[in-house]
Amino acid sequence: MKKTTTLTKLPAIFSAGLLAMPAAHAVDVDVSGFIRQEMAYSISDDQNPMNRGTAAVSGTVPNTTGGADFIKKDFDYDNDWNMMATRAEVNFTIGISENVKAFVKVRGFYSADVFNDVSVENGAKDVNQFRVDQHGKCASIFEVCDDDFMIDLPSAYIDYSEGDLWVRFGVQQIAWGEAIFFRVMDVPNGLDLRRHTFLDLASEEYADERISSPAIRVSYNLNSNWEVETFAQMFQPSVLPQSGTAYSIINSPFRVRNDIGFDKVDDKINVGVRLVGQLGDLGLQFMATARHNPDPIFKWGPGGQTALDPAFAALGTFSDQPFRSTGSPGAVGALNSGTYGGLDWMTSAHLMGVNGVEAINVLGQEFALIGNFLTASGYSGPDYVNSVAEGSLALDGFFTQLGDLEADIIPIYAAENVFGFGANYIFYSEPDTWLDQLVVRFEMTYTPDKKFSNNMSRNFIEEDEWVTGLVLEKYRRFSDAFPATFLVFQWMHKSESDLSGRHLSNLGGSPTKAPSGGEESGGWDAVSFAIQQPLPGLIWRLDMNVLYDLNGSYLIQPGVRYKPNRSWTIEGFASFLDSKDNAGALQPLAWADEVSLRLTYQF
């Protein structure tokens, strides 16, 4: 088993902070933590269509050129468990002096071998859940990982405070804004979705997912009402669920070249400043960040399969274009692990929010060999194909010659500036009315010239994006016997993209129809509603969370939490997802109906 250790920078960070420690001061260390078993059992007949073992299209795939149909092996894996994991977290709270404190959280996560997919790499039934080619072979800078486990440091920082000044130096999460789950002003950090995507308890928001990195964060109280805060943080990308894992959202034949994409920005620093304060009863926030967006946009990368260069020399250099034939030397994936046929292509592309027709045109425009191939096949550029039928025919010609194909895509982390404004206000009205003590929060961000994936083109879509969020919160007692019910309604609007940042113009395609761009008009909207009802003593708590995307997808998550004593906590929740079509923001996980159980022992 190969392990990669990237902890070498930690001592340097801490030794710098410890210089501030008075020699005679006794260091006070508290250790706490928990161990938890986490499991998620599928309650749906559906399987993840992005994985090769349960691919959206398999079996006999029609060849529209009139040649022999394509035979894409149907593995028909049936996974009952989406997750079976053991998590341990150990926290060290270190009092160094009156003004200097440190905190270190070590997180270990082991994923048992309950989920099978066809390994793209070797065809075996195993999956890599955690290795990511960013920092060495792991995602974050202080992480040890392998296929089935990761150990990292979500927090490892030193706090220094003196009067109105507070400085936090080290590995940390930074969360801004007040909207929950809908990330409007919460722009400093990306998300690590390798463990349970965002299908953990919705009421926990992104506590486990928000990915940390080394930073210096400085806050200063200007007076009793206003605070200014700024940060400079090492760029750390979001981490998508790995290909072939339970919650993968990237089609398995794609190899994401993190090594190329991240290397271009691994030395970048994201910076931000915000002003937070009260103006009478009105709470206000203003923020600006200059960052590389941690959420990647993708473009095609050269496949590098030189073995086929001679055979295609008449059309150009084969290895310069993105595809590799799995049946020829130089393929990364196992034989028959690729996309096979126009129907497969269109189905998978439209599931992912890529316009399968335009992606062909992009290939023709940006890669000489493919352009030449299309021209030789009778298509004229720059818009070589204009429909799913045309595109499928062209593709089927390609697949006929090459067999099933895999490809490289490169994540790009575009530079952008985000400006934001937020406000909150608590209404006071006649006691016992719905308006009394109703909390209203509003947030808005503006990102000029934001870049979006453009069907894998190197020429990204570039548009100004506005994101707004409105939150209404209310505590209300419905009976004397039960504590107050917590009710939250949220609305989010994004002008150009959906929840996960996919440009709206590329959503809504189907196996037989390309996206029309119609999803773009009016932007993207979603509402969420959450109810939290503790029972007397707070020993039991009932949760209900609903997210409804106005494009037609939803997540419903009822849950229950039982905390019988100090040491043990049991949580059960179910996630029901669906989407009426590929326009839905939750379509990539629409298959993932599941029941989750978490059993925690804390010490």
């Binding site: 928990f34 007040e178 006071y428 003590q437 004397d480 707070l538 019988p564 100090r566």
Partner: protein, 439 residues
């Protein structure tokens, strides 16, 4: 009607601090009061509690008579200096007679609109609102207090089901008594106090923090900000849910703090319903000789022998019994609270609440003590023994859940009990501070 039976209490306190002449012997000695049936040093238990049934609140009576609680009788404190922090008593004496309620019901300096200038505003309260003002304006009788609290929560089984370590900090911006530049802190006009509560253990609650910003106008609800570790950020919360436990298993509500956890004018129908002697804890409960000021050696009673502290109760010669109703909280599960205020120092030595059916629901018993034990003492900046609450018994008799707090010297997170520390505001009482306390 004023405090004192034989003569007015407060002139005596002002002259010699000795209250003896204000009350007859039978109100200063439990032996005299019970005609020899009980004496100092005796233990009240199920066998003799009937003798003092009318001198303890109904839930304390239930605890002793049915749940194995024991209470130790100790002499009545007659030296008033042992019943206050030094500076607070000094301010109370200096400002006697200067307080008035304005037309809204807020306390002002008589003949002006100025906020109160420190100490107990109404040493002889003439109505329920004045009595509540005495416990609301300055909770801990210090300008700044930081309490390190060991919490034990006992369930219906009698087992300790939950344990928390809780830090509590309160800082007044007006009614100051130890501030060299006067009773108000510059830059905080219109504010009464900032108060925060945060949990340092166990792991799943560590970092949970709440900041209350109280306005001086007692008609207004405090602003409430909270840091929940799951959210990694400070959010503003509505503040009218003050009758809920903050964490599982605990029976403490924000509304309970000092028996005056809500702005006093958000309650109504304040009234004095009685006066007379009562038993309460006013001395000898600071255990500076024990590691971390522990009271574990005093734990007893309940189904498993680990519910109550054996508290020192003394005959308090005069209490003022006051009641109020939560008129500003129409959906509160409480219909009424009743508080027994010791006339000597106006602290709530007993406090019970009633549910919406009028049935008794919970008690919140605070034990107070000068922080002096033999030759050990916790001293203020001027060398005077400190004074504070020492333990709390909070009992939900309907849910059969019991919470006890011990005021500890320190808890996890490096929090130490201390008073009038200079930098408490920046460290614990701002939005920035509670974000920093989270992790």
């Amino acid at each position: 009607m004023g405090a004192g039976v034989l003569t007015s209490l407060w002139p005596l306190i002002g002259e010699t601090a000795d209250i003896t002449k204000a009350y007859p012997e039978e109100l200063l000695s439990i032996e005299a009061f019970t005609q020899g049936k009980l004496k100092d040093g005796d233990i009240i238990d199920a066998s003799n509690v009937e003798i003092v049934k009318d001198l303890i609140d109904p839930i304390a009576y239930l605890q002793v008579s049915q749940q194995g609680r024991r209470i130790k009788l100790v002499p009545t404190t007659t030296d008033a200096t042992q019943l206050f922090p030094h500076d607070y008593l000094k301010a109370t004496l200096a400002n006697q007679g200067k307080a008035a309620l304005d037309q809204d019901g807020n306390v002002v300096v008589k003949g002006s609109t100025n906020q109160w200038i420190g100490g107990t505003p109404f040493v002889d309260p003439q109505n329920g609102l004045e009595a509540f003002a005495n416990i609301t304006l300055s909770w801990g009788r210090h300008d700044t207090s930081i309490y390190a609290v060991d919490d034990y929560d006992i369930g219906p089984s009698g087992n300790i089901e939950y344990q928390y370590q809780i830090a509590w900090c309160e800082k007044n911006f007006s009614t100051l008594v130890s501030n060299p530049s006067g009773p108000y802190l510059e830059g905080f006009n219109g504010k009464l106090r900032h108060q925060s509560i945060w949990f340092t253990a166990p792991d799943d609650t560590r970092g949970t923090s709440f900041l209350n910003i109280w306005k001086y106008d007692q008609r207004e609800f405090p602003d409430l900000f909270g840091y929940l570790p799951a959210f990694k950020r400070v959010r503003r919360f509505p503040t009218n849910q003050r009758f809920e436990p903050l964490v599982p298993g605990i029976t403490f509500f924000l509304s309970d703090a000092w028996a005056a956890g809500d702005p006093m004018l958000t309650w109504g129908k304040h009234k004095i319903v009685g006066r007379g002697p009562f038993l309460g804890c006013q001395s000898g409960m600071w255990h500076g000789d024990k590691e971390n000021w522990s009271k574990e050696h005093l734990v007893h009673g309940g189904k498993k022998g680990n519910t109550f502290y054996e508290a020192n109760f003394q005959l308090c010669p005069e209490v003022i019994v006051v009641e109020a109703e939560p008129t500003g909280f129409p959906r509160a599960p409480v219909s009424k609270k009743r508080i027994w205020l010791d006339a000597r120092n106006m602290v709530p030595i007993a406090y019970v609440t009633y549910d919406r059916n009028g049935d008794i629901w919970r008690s919140y018993e605070m034990g107070f003590s000068q922080m002096k034990q033999g030759n050990k003492a916790n001293l203020d900046a001027n060398g005077n023994p400190e004074w504070a609450w020492s333990y709390i018994h909070s009992h939900d008799i309907q849910g059969d859940r019991f919470t006890r707090f011990n005021l500890a010297e320190k808890i996890k997170g490096g929090i130490r009990t201390q008073f009038d520390s200079e930098n408490a505001y920046e460290k614990y009482l701002t939005v920035q501070a509670i974000r920093k306390l989270g992790s």
